[in-house]
Symmetry: D2
Subunit: 148 residues, 4 copies
């Protein structure tokens, strides 16, 4: 099986809720951040110069196993788990050190957007899936917040 | 089948993204807001005085059919779609007028929280599901923002 | 002095943080929500059909006096506190029943947006300030979440 | 004058709004993220093990000069601009490469929190300001998202 793309970051204060843990809706952002970092690593952008193309989400799901808390560092491992003519499905696994935090999926569709905002499903452009799968996951840093 | 609990509100500017539509992670908040309004309508609160009890989410999913945009008014219809000894599953359907926006589910577990933050699954307290199901959905206003 | 425009709503769970209170960044959204509800009450929209016009914020500030918590109902009282040729300044006061929660300001500029996204400051269109000031604040409900 | 603490990261998709730029409320989170990264760099945490202590914000302000957009990398330069017996004021400057994005301030108070949630202002603990000022800002990476 292919190696996953790895995205790593830290929980911020505003991502917690009054239960003292990360709000469940945030995990969907973490999955999306990992997807976009993967696209950047492949030399692509989910928000191309052409505003007439887009990648809306058609389905998303997450299963929560262990909570994340303020200042936790965690890793999102992303894989492509399904490809159809007009959609890509990603699978994600999150871990904090050896603790399995949870797993989820996001399915995106490729669309063109007309001038009045209507989205029409189109074929996934050639090469996108290949370029994503060709990314060599390594230790280099992509989205980084520096401090001493 | 039981009538759903209906929660209604309007899309705010900060809930949109650069694609001009509501960000996909927001729908999970809309589902949760509907759940909490339902609890209030039943005379309950998901955040009881006792901080040792909680209702963390163990699974959440949404399927997106049509986008929501700034200032759209929409309705979340909530139902209890599954009950086990320690969990409740809700099903949600969202509509903007006659347009079907999408549908989703959230499964919550009942837990006690120890002093050091560890959550332990416990039985759903007696009466919670009955009180939720006993709510008569009507036209009265619960969470309201007033203007002229 | 003119009567303020009143916007009313309830705190949602996702707006709290691990300190058990509403995260300080949220108050800026509450101020903006009140502004947009005011525009709707005046028959205007901050997001007009013409995407070439916009109202970016040039300054924002808030002073926090008492915290808001989950399920609190509160009121934002909004006034126009300054008008220049190209900007409008709003002042806001927030209250939970008789408790003064805090006060803030937002200054917005009127701009045109070129095809490549560059924003150029332009004069505030005639009539906007007059229409906002002409709104009669009353008890009617604008952004409402209904429940039994 | 002291060197600022530097915090660096990238704009995520969910931080944009339908105007195609980062929502103005997000800058308050960027300032807070920089503050917390600074505390970590000083071996401190704004959320100590003792839940009876806290650092609520008493004032926050930002002036917007140039917008940030999706995938922009930017830097927050943080300084302590004022210290009183019970409060610390931070000043922040944001830049994207050579472009000045804006500047802001946050004032935090030190409090103890009683069992029923009431916050009482107390003196800033000895050594906190000194430890923050003693941090040597360097090129090392603190909050990092890794990719190939």
């Amino acid at each position: 099986m292919n190696e996953p793309f790895l995205y790593r970051r830290r929980i911020q204060f505003a991502e917690t809720d009054m239960a003292g843990i990360v709000h469940f809706s945030r995990y969907f952002r973490f999955m999306e951040e990992a997807e976009h970092a993967w696209w950047r690593a492949a030399g692509l952008s989910i928000a191309p110069a052409d505003p007439a193309q887009g990648w809306p989400r058609v389905a998303a799901a997450f299963n929560y196993k262990r909570p994340l808390r303020f200042e936790d560092e965690f890793t999102v491992a992303a894989r492509i788990t399904g490809v159809s003519r007009r959609t890509i499905q990603y699978g994600f696994e999150m871990r904090r050190d050896d603790t399995f935090v949870g797993h989820g999926t996001i399915t995106v569709a490729c669309v063109t957007v007309s001038a009045d905002g209507v989205m029409i499903s189109v074929d996934v452009p050639e090469g996108v899936v290949e370029r994503l799968r060709g990314v060599q996951t390594g230790p280099a840093s992509d989205d980084r917040a520096t401090g001493p």
